[in-house]
């Protein structure tokens, strides 16, 4: 209608692609809640070595005495007594998709994982609920001495001692309540070891799917990349939507050796009943580089701030992230970096979009220690508000204990420029197309950092349909 003034609409992410489910067909699952008995049960089920069993129980103690964070999004809707912390799918881990049970295989087929593996990946791990159901890596990568397997198998291999030396050393259970929870009930996840000087030219990918309602997923990803090596690791995650809260409290620990480089890309697309309280951390030795590429689209509530510890001289960190929060979502994302050695550098670039009552917050911390002389840090965050019902906060902090530094921060918040829309329309675009182009352009610097197949997925995720007139 000509006289009807409509506000610009940006459609929610089309979730139907991810929102399918199968009956839970678990071979074993714990009761809901968190007790020492349940933790022992998980430990027995997984046939943990003794040190891990003790580690779990100690973590539970820490969990019980650690308060919930007094900052960040509300976690009121999360009732740990209702969360099932371990659901073992009805299959062993397979190395061929043909051997994976149909319901699980169909899940990953619909998500396009086997196809991506064939087309562009060096190895794939697929986790369904609490355990990895498929793991495979190309022969030529194995021949380079690369290890890529599930963490449970790795714990029983000749890497056991190395895992013991690294597991939850970067993210100790004392770090926060959900790190302690992870230490107590972790299951699944991947172990990657890249030997000195080896460059894994094609990415490895782990995909995490949570199918069971009211369950938690607590996978642990441990990546060790030795001196001069290179790895690109991709992580994807999704779940169908249920009426009960699900919880994801995974943990990623990355050890970047001297002059090594790791790129860690994530597209997070959990369903909107998910509490995504994930912890990711990397430590870089001298000359090492960690690059985070992060897209946060799903979840009911997210707290996700990958931390990089630049421990060695000349270490470098880059973080590129986009967060899109729609109706009912409270996504609190960002990055943290600690410059702990001279000549280190960090660069954080983020984009946030909030619409339809969604909350999209950017939170960051840049800390420079006394020893980090001649370090440089630049932070840039931009937020786009698509209506007046949404919220977008920018909460950056700098903590500098060294004078020989160059630290900069800039942030912008705004709306779609009417001048830009006007200009594009004067060049022949419809208003809808003009607005779509501007929003697409806003997200573009992040999209181009993603691997191709994930950039395509992101474009699917941000299904931006614009309509309306200047209102």
């Amino acid at each position: 209608m000509a006289d009807e003034v409509k506000k610009t609409q940006v459609e929610d992410i089309d979730r139907s692609f991810y929102d399918f489910r199968y009956e839970v067909n678990a071979s074993f699952q714990t009761d809901a809640g968190l007790t020492p008995e349940i933790v022992k049960q998980i430990s027995e089920e997984k046939n943990d070595p003794e040190w891990m069993r003790e580690f779990r129980l100690k973590s539970l103690e820490i969990y019980n005495r650690t308060p919930l964070p007094n900052w960040g999004p509300s976690l009121e809707g999360l009732n740990m007594d209702g969360i099932v912390t371990y659901v073992r799918p009805n299959t062993e881990m397979q190395a061929k998709w043909a051997d994976v049970p149909d319901d699980i295989k169909n899940t990953f087929e619909r998500l396009g994982i086997p196809e991506a593996e064939r087309a562009s990946l060096a190895g794939v791990g697929a986790q369904y609920d609490s355990e990895v159901v498929y793991h495979n890596v190309k022969k030529e990568v194995l021949e380079q001495g690369v290890v890529y397997t599930d963490l449970e198998s790795a714990l029983k291999s000749d890497h056991a001692e190395r895992i013991k030396e690294h597991f939850m050393h970067l993210v100790p259970p004392t770090d926060h309540k959900f790190a302690a929870l992870h230490g107590a009930v972790w299951s699944g996840g991947s172990y990657v070891y890249v030997p000195k000087g080896v460059s894994v030219e094609i990415p490895l990918q782990s995909y995490f799917r949570l199918n069971a309602p009211g369950a938690g997923q607590f996978e642990h990803t441990l990546i060790i990349v030795e001196e001069g090596a290179y790895l690109h690791f991709i992580e994807g995650c999704s779940a169908p939507k249920y009426n009960v809260a699900n919880l994801h409290a995974g943990c990623v620990e990355i050890y970047v050796g001297k002059n090594a480089r790791v790129r860690y890309s994530t597209i997070e697309n959990w369903s909107k009943n998910m509490y995504n309280l994930n912890t990711k951390r990397a430590v870089c030795e001298a000359g090492g580089t960690i690059e985070w590429v992060s897209g946060s689209f799903g979840s009911h509530t997210s707290c996700l701030y990958p931390m990089s510890v630049l421990k060695g001289e000349g270490a470098r960190m880059e973080f590129t992230g986009i967060t899109f929060a729609g109706n009912g979502q409270d996504l609190d994302t960002g990055a943290q970096v600690i410059h702990a050695a001279p000549n280190t550098s960090s660069h954080i670039v983020t984009k946030s979009i909030a619409k339809d009552g969604g909350v999209s917050n950017f939170r960051s911390a840049v800390a420079v220690t006394k020893d980090a002389k001649n370090s440089k840090s630049a932070v840039s965050c931009e937020s786009l508000m698509l209506d007046e019902r949404s919220r977008s906060d920018t909460i950056p902090v700098m903590d500098i204990a060294c004078d020989r530094v160059d630290v900069g921060h800039e942030a912008k918040i705004g709306r779609i420029s009417e001048e830009a829309v006007f200009y594009l329309m004067s060049r022949g675009l419809t208003e809808e197309d003009a607005r779509a182009l501007i929003v697409g352009g806003f997200a573009e610097p992040i999209a181009k950092e993603l691997p191709l197949e994930y950039a395509v997925e992101m474009n699917n995720l941000i299904h931006l349909e614009m309509q309306g007139s200047i209102g």
Binding site: N70, R363, S383, T394, I400, D403, R404, V407, H409, G414
Partner: protein, 364 residues
């Protein structure tokens, strides 16, 4: 009275370990001695168009300063000197508010209210000084209400000794088409806790804050400046430049808060810090909070040493490092110092900076 809330609380909290959610405990407002705060050495000179009122104008109340509600209440109730001003018409003169801490008057807990009537234009200058050896306390609450079209400038010059404590809360209410400008120089004190909070609730109200600070020795500097936009076409500019030397610990929180209804609001905020010592601690939390779609907000922050290329260039022009440093600090502070509407006071501030810089070491 014991206060339970954090002083200078960050409007939205973040990681506790970063210690920016509020002023550190050692910077808490001291308890009132049993014998009370004693008498103050305080004076004021009124300009034309400004008169004193016996009663706190209601227009000035209802909002709180960046220090927080409890601290405001304490200063209000414990004040050993209160003065309330009413401004009408356009005044070219300056109203001076002088406060000096000395051995006989070491504590000044002052409550000031400025009610600027519609269309008025007025300038207030607060000068806070102390004798060099006095270990005193200056705690002040200034409540400003600018009625429609009013234009209020408040200049705060704090030149306390390095042994005194300073608490400075300013609350600002800005009506339609009104403007409140604060020019703030916090150049002394071993504990400085300062918070200005402006409520821009009406159309086209504006708030400007131009601030400088200098921290050295073992001092603690803690700032919390907030501009809350709820009115259409409101505008805030908050810009701070600072120098940190020795073992000074400084935290600056600057928040632009765009709330629903603040259509076409604009807010800019910046901090530029020079670090003169490897032992300083510089913390900054520049926040933008936003629940309104149609706004423009921006903040920028930078921290570092003097650019060595600039120093090298200045040396090549015949300046020694100390002279070059003074030149660079002058350049950073000049936009604020130049806004002090009195040459005597400008010279006073420059002399104070000069003295401080003599002790600073810039080249490690």
């Amino acid at each position: 009275m014991n206060t339970t809330e954090l002083l200078n609380a960050l409007p939205v909290t973040t990681w506790n370990h970063l210690r920016v959610n509020g002023a550190p405990k050692e910077a808490n407002l001291p308890e009132r001695p049993e014998s009370g705060w004693g008498e103050t050495n305080t004076a004021y000179e009124l300009s034309d168009g400004v008169r004193c009122t016996a009663v706190l104008p209601q227009e000035c109340t209802g909002e709180y300063s960046g220090l927080g509600k409890e601290a405001d209440l304490r200063i209000h109730t414990e004040a050993n000197f209160s003065r309330f001003f009413l401004a009408e018409g356009v005044s070219e003169g300056i109203t001076y508010l002088r406060e000096k801490l000395d051995a006989q008057h070491p504590n000044a807990v002052t409550h000031t209210a400025i009610h600027a009537k519609s269309g008025s234009k007025v300038t207030f200058v607060q000068i806070i000084q102390s004798d060099p050896e006095v270990e005193g306390l200056s705690a002040s609450l200034t409540q400003i209400a600018a009625e429609p079209g009013a234009d209020v400038t408040l200049v705060q010059l704090q030149l306390l000794s390095g042994k005194s404590k300073r608490y400075n809360g300013v609350s600002v209410k800005v009506a339609r088409d009104a403007r409140v400008k604060i020019v703030r120089a916090e150049l002394g004190g071993n504990i400085v806790v300062t918070g200005a909070r402006a409520m821009l609730g009406k159309t086209a109200g504006a708030f400007d804050l131009s601030a400088i600070y200098y921290g050295d020795g073992d001092s603690i500097l803690d700032f919390n400046d907030v501009a809350v936009h709820t009115g259409r076409d409101t505008h805030s500019e908050m810009h701070t430049a600072g120098v940190l030397a020795d073992r000074c610990r400084k935290t600056l929180r600057g928040t632009i808060d765009f709330r629903r209804g603040a259509v076409h609001a604009v807010g800019h905020e910046s901090e530029d810090v020079l670090l003169f010592s490897p032992e300083v601690r510089h913390r900054a939390a520049p926040l933008i909070l936003c629940t309104e779609e149609n706004v423009e907000g921006q903040h920028a922050a930078s921290a570092g040493r003097l650019d060595e290329n600039v120093l090298y260039y200045l040396a090549s022009r015949g300046l020694d490092p100390q002279q070059a440093m003074r030149l660079m600090v002058d350049a950073r502070f000049a936009p604020v110092v130049d806004q002090i509407p009195d040459k005597v006071l400008r010279d006073l501030v420059r002399a104070s900076l000069e003295r401080r810089l003599e002790h600073a070491q810039i080249l490690g």
